[in-house]
Amino acid sequence: MRLTIADLKKGEKGVITDSSSEDIPLKLLEMGCLPGNEVHLLQLAPFSDPMYLNVNDSFLAIRKETASLIVIEKIDE
């Protein structure tokens, strides 16, 4: 099953495997949403949207629809 950032729960981590979807804003790539980088989901607003995450030392909030475009592999701790 294809997992994305939108599937992460609060506190979970993953590694980005694909962020090549055309609808991902370039800004997000430049902030470090690139394959190989670790994503840590820090907090969620009500209804899980927007999502607050840490990636590549950047702290970002993105909407769920964007998060669901970034493919990841979950890291189990």
Partner: protein
């Protein structure tokens, strides 16, 4: 003339770039505008040694040289145009010690443009606490640059930075890495097509056109060179970003050591509370409440003081130059009162921006966006729109100015357009007198009808703002694709200097830019109300019969009323009577409506004059006007102010755009007359229709 060199300050948002700018220039700065767009152009002068002055340009914050907003586009346009008078001799990249990696992405892009570049590492005082150590020499060598470790909070490193600026000629202009290797064939063919141009510059122009939309350029036209689809270009840009990060990471591995165990948990502790699903909203509500309290209540103290000061100043002018006739009148009542009408807004503006700059500086505002995004986006608004909407309940003017902090232009515009619907404090006196007049006494479950009506009007204003935002969101089209990526910066104690500079600068902008328009219109309105054509205005005294029982005050009031009736504004009021008749108003109300354009609360005073009770003292005044209004009848004996016409008037005041000061500030904030005119026509039309329906139904 001493030599001046151009310095451009570039950096990611939230790196303290503006603090560095303030530290370099102090109060030697001014805020202008880039032609045609609503982006602030901040520039200042920094004195270096031996009479050398540096002209510092604080460019809008950006994460990279690929623009996604008008603000960011300013940076690229400047750096692509060597002929621009502001083209930098030296660029300063301001970075934040905790986010060095990401900040360096932009740095390597600027280096590719072959501009001498200094790297400022700000907040260096935090290094030990955060467990970060840097090998500056190594970093300088690998990135071909000079580094200044600065702390604007501790005021250290600024002198060293000034020295670096002065010796900018010794800084290498060599790029750090070769990005063309991401697609060698493509960049070679690009070089062939434009042999005289810098290849990285060409690449920027091409991607810029693809991402952000075409911008007319004189220097470079790449439209003929199009060998890749937008999708391919984007993939290439992703490759570029990966390549840059590989390069940066490799160097930081050697030059930066981070002891993660030292990272303090302040962010996560505060976040757990401030964006908590319940407490986050409770705290935000209390912050909104205190902002509201400040501009609604605290600001009234200085405002009353300004009011009385200008009133006595006008009086003083009149008494000091009694022989001046019309000139004295113009100065005292037109100009002095007009300026008073501008200065009166300063306390509210200052208070609001005090709060806003603290919220922005501390990093809290991004949390507000996080909390409110889901609700606000449905109405085409930003999470940040809530602060202007709530402040609009005190006054629309500071509220419209507060929209500057909304990055997305469409969301900003919608917020500006709908803010005047919220019930500002100038509507209150009008509401109070009409409610007292037409809404019956009595109560339901302990709540009086009158209080409920007032509350309904507040809700109505807010509801209308939200509703029109929803409609506008569907009508307005934007050229640029927008998306939501919000950085959540670290929490910081706001720097007092930055807060003060923001407050001063906002106040100045209002007084000198919107103030001109407000003064001009208020003088015109004053002339219209103070002069009239023909004998009836000029010899009003001879038309008023003296009744034996009359006091001189009563007679003066009668003359004033007669004069107002025959002044230009009175003529306008009478002319529009057929138009406002279907709403249930007579020409006297018409005069009040026209005069309200100076400020809504003027309605009450104008009615006082027209009902010949102008000289009554203030407390007594309201009651006398009320009695007068209650007894006012048409020729056939029917009452002018009934429930129907009263409700109609309340609705008209709730929705109509009757405030020239708001129009002036909207013009200033949108850089065009188009939007204020749209507001004037649109809001007044809505008001007219609602008032018409209400009156015809209730009559």
């Amino acid at each position: 003339m001493s030599k001046q060199l151009n310095v451009a300050l570039i950096g990611n948002p939230n790196t303290g770039k503006t603090s560095v700018f303030n530290a370099l220039t102090g109060l030697n700065q001014k805020v202008g505008n880039y032609p045609g767009i609503t982006v602030d152009k901040k520039q200042g002068i920094c004195k270096l040694s031996r009479g050398v002055k540096a002209h510092i340009l604080d460019l809008p914050g950006t994460y990279s040289l690929n623009a996604s907003s008008l603000d960011e586009n300013v940076v690229i346009e400047l750096l692509l145009n060597k002929n621009d008078k502001d083209y930098p001799d030296v660029a300063i990249i301001v970075s934040d010690v905790e986010n060095l990696k990401r900040n360096l992405l932009l740095f390597t892009q600027i280096k590719d443009l072959k501009i001498p570049t200094i790297l400022v590492i700000n907040m260096s005082d935090l290094m030990t606490r955060k467990g970060i150590s840097l090998d500056i020499e190594l970093l300088e060598a690998k990135f071909h640059t000079k580094i200044a470790l600065v702390s604007t909070r501790k005021n250290s490193g600024i002198t060293e930075l000034k020295q670096l600026i002065e010796s900018y000629k010794t800084i290498s202009t060599e790029p750090c890495l070769d990005t063309t290797s991401i697609d060698t064939d493509y960049f070679q063919s690009l070089e062939k097509a434009f042999p005289n141009q810098d290849v990285y510059k060409l690449w920027l122009v091409i991607t810029q056109d693809a991402n952000f939309g075409k911008i007319t350029r004189q220097e470079l036209d790449v439209s003929k060179f199009k060998t890749k689809s937008n999708q391919e270009l984007k993939r290439l840009q992703q490759k570029e970003a990966i390549k840059r990060y590989q390069f940066i990471n490799a160097i930081l591995k050697e030059g930066q050591i981070i002891d993660r165990s030292k990272a303090t948990g302040l962010r996560s502790k505060l976040d757990r509370l401030l964006i908590h699903k319940v407490w986050g909203y409770v705290i935000f509500f209390f912050i909104l409440l205190s902002i509201f309290q400040a501009i609604y209540d605290w600001a009234t103290v200085p405002m009353d003081l300004i009011d009385t000061t200008f009133a006595s100043l006008a009086e003083w002018v009149k008494n000091t130059f009694p022989g001046g006739g019309k000139v004295t009148d113009l100065v005292a009542e037109g100009i002095v009162s007009g300026i008073g009408g501008i200065v009166i807004f300063i306390p509210q503006i200052a208070f609001l921006f005090l709060f806003i700059s603290i919220l922005e500086e501390s990093g809290y505002m991004s949390r507000v966006v996080f909390l409110m995004d889901r609700v606000m986006r449905r109405f085409g608004l930003s999470g940040k729109s809530l602060v202007p909407l709530i402040s609009g309940t005190a006054c629309a003017i500071p509220a419209v100015m507060a929209t500057r902090n909304i990055e997305n232009w469409k969301e900003r515009l919608i917020t500006i357009l709908v803010v005047p619907f919220t019930t500002c404090s100038a509507r209150l006196p009008v509401y109070l007198i009409i409610i007292a007049l037409v809404i019956p006494d009595g109560s339901i479950i302990g709540l009086s009808f009158q209080a409920l009506t007032l509350m309904a009007l507040y809700l109505l204003g807010f509801g209308m703002a939200i509703f029109s935002a929803y409609i506008l969101d569907r009508i307005l089209k934007t050229k640029h694709k927008t998306f939501f990526v919000v950085e959540m910066p670290n929490y910081k104690l706001p720097l007092l200097k930055n807060v003060i500079i923001t407050v001063i600068e906002k106040t100045k902008t209002f007084v000198f830019e919107a103030g001109k328009i407000i003064l001009a219109i208020s003088i015109i309105l004053w002339v219209l109300a103070s002069y009239g054509p023909g004998d009836k205005f000029n010899n009003a005294e001879s038309y008023i019969q003296t009744a034996t029982s009359q006091t001189s005050n009563e007679r003066n009031d009668q003359i004033a009323a007669f004069k107002l009736e025959h002044s230009y504004i009175g003529i306008v009021g009478k002319t529009i009577e057929p138009l406002i008749k279907p709403l249930g108003y007579d020409w006297k109300v018409g005069i009040g409506l026209v005069a309200s354009f100076a400020a809504r609360e003027v309605f009450v005073g104008t009615l006082a004059t027209i009902y010949s009770v102008g000289s009554a003292s203030e407390g007594e005044n309201i009651d006398t006007i009320k009695t007068k209004m209650a007894n006012e009848t048409y020729a056939d004996g029917s009452k002018v102010f009934t429930l129907a016409s009263g409700i109609s008037l309340l609705l008209f005041y709730a929705f109509a755009m009757q405030c020239m000061s708001t129009l002036a500030i909207v013009k200033r904030e949108t850089k065009s007359w188009k939007w204020p005119i749209l507001q004037l026509i649109g809001m007044t039309a809505i008001a007219y229709i609602c008032a018409l329906i209400a009156f015809q139904f209730l009559k």
